[in-house]
């Protein structure tokens, strides 16, 4: 294999259990987002747009959909003769079957993948976030400071800082302290779970960490704190722009709604930074005489005969006459029957909502965002 300057390792094994039925048969990075994408499209497109052509995708939980979606990576221009995308599932060794028990563990078990490219730098990514980022700029930052590890950080609102892993730095952005979910944060720079390591340093610390029986084999909890205590050079790379973890039904809904807000900072129409995805090859959308569509994103293959307001509709959705959809996300190939009313809901793929159904949160519900389930439709 030809030597690579930087290889990306994309952690895509997350279950995303707080997305409930949306992740019952697919991994979180494969969850549909934004009318035509899956969550992982953002990270894979960032790689391609940043000039990174070698990406290992680590899968574990429910990998079927994700594996077939990624394929040989051609949708992201990652079908390369040298490099490209490689799906890295857990595997069994001669003595035992090894699952990925932590983020560092997953990379450790694929050291051979990295060794074959012998890169200078390794970029660790998570397939759970919606954002557009030029990793090349972060790599330049890392190289310029001769860092051993660089952690991308984003300013979060002070009142939310205690939910994140906070990094305390000196004035030159050198990391002086990790503060995991601090009760009284000294800073509001949260780790985005994006790391660049010198390959030699990463390899050394992954091997050391793997031998520790008490380690949880996690980058945030184990590897980075050890590097810091060993006086290694750790820097925080400040990122500004849209970044969102879509780990809950509400945050997934919010991130979809953000796409309808021109001030949110996530522009899908920016042709210099396209988000690529597997093309569903559907005919254009058809908007009938009875339809009304405003403030919405509608994908190809939709047939709209009802009213759609402030909503995101994926490919192949049918909205029948008299239906009214407000502030909702309708996933691929769902059918919204006649005179259905849906407000602030997520309708999963291929779900058929019978004629006349009313979907909105009950007045006493914990959350006003409804994830529609088959059970819910049965009980109506």
């Amino acid at each position: 294999m030809a030597k690579k300057k930087c290889v990306a390792m994309l952690l895509a094994g997350g279950q995303g259990s707080r997305l409930h039925s949306l992740t019952s048969n697919l991994a979180k990075p494969a969850v549909p987002f934004g009318g035509k994408y899956r969550i992982i499209d953002f990270t894979l497109s960032n790689c391609t747009n940043s000039g990174i052509d070698t990406v290992g995708v680590l899968t574990q939980y429910q990998p079927l959909v994700l594996n077939s979606y990624i394929g040989i990576g051609s949708a992201w221009d990652l079908d390369r003769k040298n490099g490209g995308v490689t799906v890295l599932p857990p595997y069994s060794e001669s003595k035992e079957m090894k699952w990925y028990t932590g983020t560092a563990c997953a990379i450790y078990q694929n050291l051979n993948y990295l060794i074959q490219y012998d890169p200078e730098y390794v970029l660790i990514l998570s397939g759970d976030h919606i954002y557009k980022m030029n990793y090349e700029l972060m790599l330049d930052f890392h190289i310029k400071r001769d860092a051993d590890a660089t952690i991308s950080v984003i300013e979060v609102p002070w009142d939310e800082a205690s939910r994140f892993g906070i990094l305390n730095t000196d004035s030159d952005m050198k990391v002086v302290e990790f503060d995991e979910k601090p009760a009284n944060p000294k800073n509001n720079l949260a780790s985005m779970g994006i790391y660049i390591f010198k390959w030699s340093v990463l390899k050394e610390y992954l091997i050391k960490d793997a031998a520790l029986p008490d380690s949880s084999h996690d980058f945030g909890k184990d590897i980075l704190p050890t590097l810091l205590s060993d006086q290694k050079k750790l820097f925080a790379y400040p990122f500004s722009g849209y970044w969102k973890d879509v780990g809950t039904v509400r945050s997934l809904w919010e991130a979809n709604m953000d796409l309808l807000d021109d001030t949110c900072g996530l522009d899908l129409f920016d042709y210099t930074w396209r988000i690529y995805s597997v093309n569903p090859n559907q005919p254009p959308q058809f908007i009938s005489d009875d339809a009304l569509v405003v403030d919405s994103l509608i994908n190809e293959g939709c047939v709209i005969e009802g009213e759609v307001e402030k909503s995101v509709l994926f490919q192949g959705v049918k909205v029948e006459k008299g239906a009214l959809i407000k502030e909702s996300v309708i996933m691929p190939d769902a059918v919204i029957g006649k005179n259905v009313f849906i407000e602030k809901a997520i309708v999963p793929s291929e779900m058929v909502i019978p004629d006349g159904t009313i979907i909105r949160a009950l007045p006493d519900a914990d959350d006003e965002i409804v994830l529609v389930t088959e059970d819910m439709l049965q009980s109506l």
Binding site: G34, G35, K36, S74, L260, L268, F269, R274, I275, Y276, S277, N279, N281, Q282, P283, P284, Q285, F286, I287, S288, D289, A291, L292, V293, V294, D295, S296, L297, I298, N299, E300, V308, V312, L313, F314
Partner: protein, 339 residues
């Protein structure tokens, strides 16, 4: 018995009456239906009918066609064995006939191991399965089967590949220049049959048919017949985001492709990919091709805008159903012009 079909697309045709649209592109590459090019229909039909090898014979202005087809990947025709073959005409021959063009590439026909050949034009819009037609052809025992719609030839012909080779090899003696010459010759020694296709099929051979047949896509019955789920029409992938409808947008009875930004009113129209329609603008009975930018407070009725046309704020443009107003690719239309 080997019943495989070789697909041959004759893209050498130049249609008078479509000049505005084929000035810079082959007829095969004329945009249609919001996200397709005319050739997508026949090419997808061939692929969906199990044809693994397709040869395309274009003549002039084939740059946009080549760009569209690429390696054939979007039709699953980037194969190690068979796949998509592209045979541009020799540059020095201006008036090359189909049979001369085929004969110049006889090697390809010799190397292909398919027993039958389907020769088709590149400008018929339809969703046709050729497998039953081949069955019919074999059972009928005819030499040449011509596919027809309402008794009119669709310029699609099935025959043994060996017969096709014989036809173009003997062109000097017979005087035949293309398949049409063969089937219209009452003294032709070949047994001809006509297969009547029952579904929707139309040849785009003038601006009026182009316009009217585009408008027929707005009829659900035609739409459903053309875009079958198990026989999809493939096209070049563009990675456009979904279409964004803004506050104040009003879209009725229209076909809209991806990547559009719509703030105005659209009625009875076909809007291609990545079109912008500004506030207060009204687009009626029109065909707007890729990447057109229509400013604010414009009125367009019965207009065909070719790709990349920019329409300045406040511009009014009118055509008629019989004679739509056609605007050439890449032009800028101002409020003071054409009003």
């Amino acid at each position: 018995m080997d019943r495989k079909l070789l697909g041959v697309i004759d893209a050498t045709t130049y249609q008078k009456g479509l000049e505005d649209l084929i000035q810079h592109r082959s007829l095969a590459a004329v945009p249609f239906g919001g996200r397709y090019r005319l050739i997508d229909f026949i090419l997808s039909n061939m692929v969906n009918s199990g044809i693994k090898s397709v040869a395309i014979f274009p003549k002039n202005q084939y740059r946009s066609l080549m760009d569209h087809l690429g390696s054939g990947k979007d039709w699953d025709l980037n194969r190690k064995r068979d796949g998509l073959f592209f045979f541009p005409a020799p540059a020095e021959e201006k008036e090359i006939t189909s049979f001369n063009h085929f004969a110049a590439n006889k090697d390809f026909f010799d190397r292909s191991n398919q027993q039958y050949a389907l020769i088709s034009n590149c400008f018929t819009v339809c969703n046709m399965d050729f497998e039953p037609i081949l069955d019919w052809h074999i059972k009928s025992g005819c030499d040449i089967t011509e596919v027809r719609k309402d008794g009119r030839s669709l310029h699609m012909f099935l025959m043994k590949k060996s017969l096709l080779v014989e036809l173009f090899e003997t062109r000097e003696e017979t005087g035949y220049t293309c398949m049409r010459d063969v089937v219209t010759d009452i003294n032709s020694p070949y047994r001809q049959c006509h297969y009547e296709f029952k579904g929707y099929a139309v040849m785009i051979d003038s601006i009026t048919t182009y316009f009217n047949e585009s408008m027929k896509l707005l009829k659900p019955s035609i739409w459903k017949e053309l875009f079958l789920k198990n026989q999809p029409v493939y096209t070049k992938v563009k990675d456009e985001p979904p279409t964004r409808y803004f506050t104040g947008a009003s879209v009725k009875n229209s076909v809209i492709a991806n990547g559009c930004l719509i703030e105005g009113t659209v009625e009875n129209s076909i809007i291609s990919r990545a079109v912008k329609i500004g506030k207060g603008s009204v687009i009626k009975n029109s065909i707007i091709m890729q990447k057109c930018q229509i400013g604010e407070n414009c009125v367009l009725d019965s207009v065909v805008l070719d790709k990349d046309v920019k329409v300045n704020n406040g511009t009014m443009m009118y055509g008629t159903k019989e004679l739509p107003y056609v605007v050439r690719k890449g032009t800028v239309q101002g409020a003071l012009m054409n009003s």
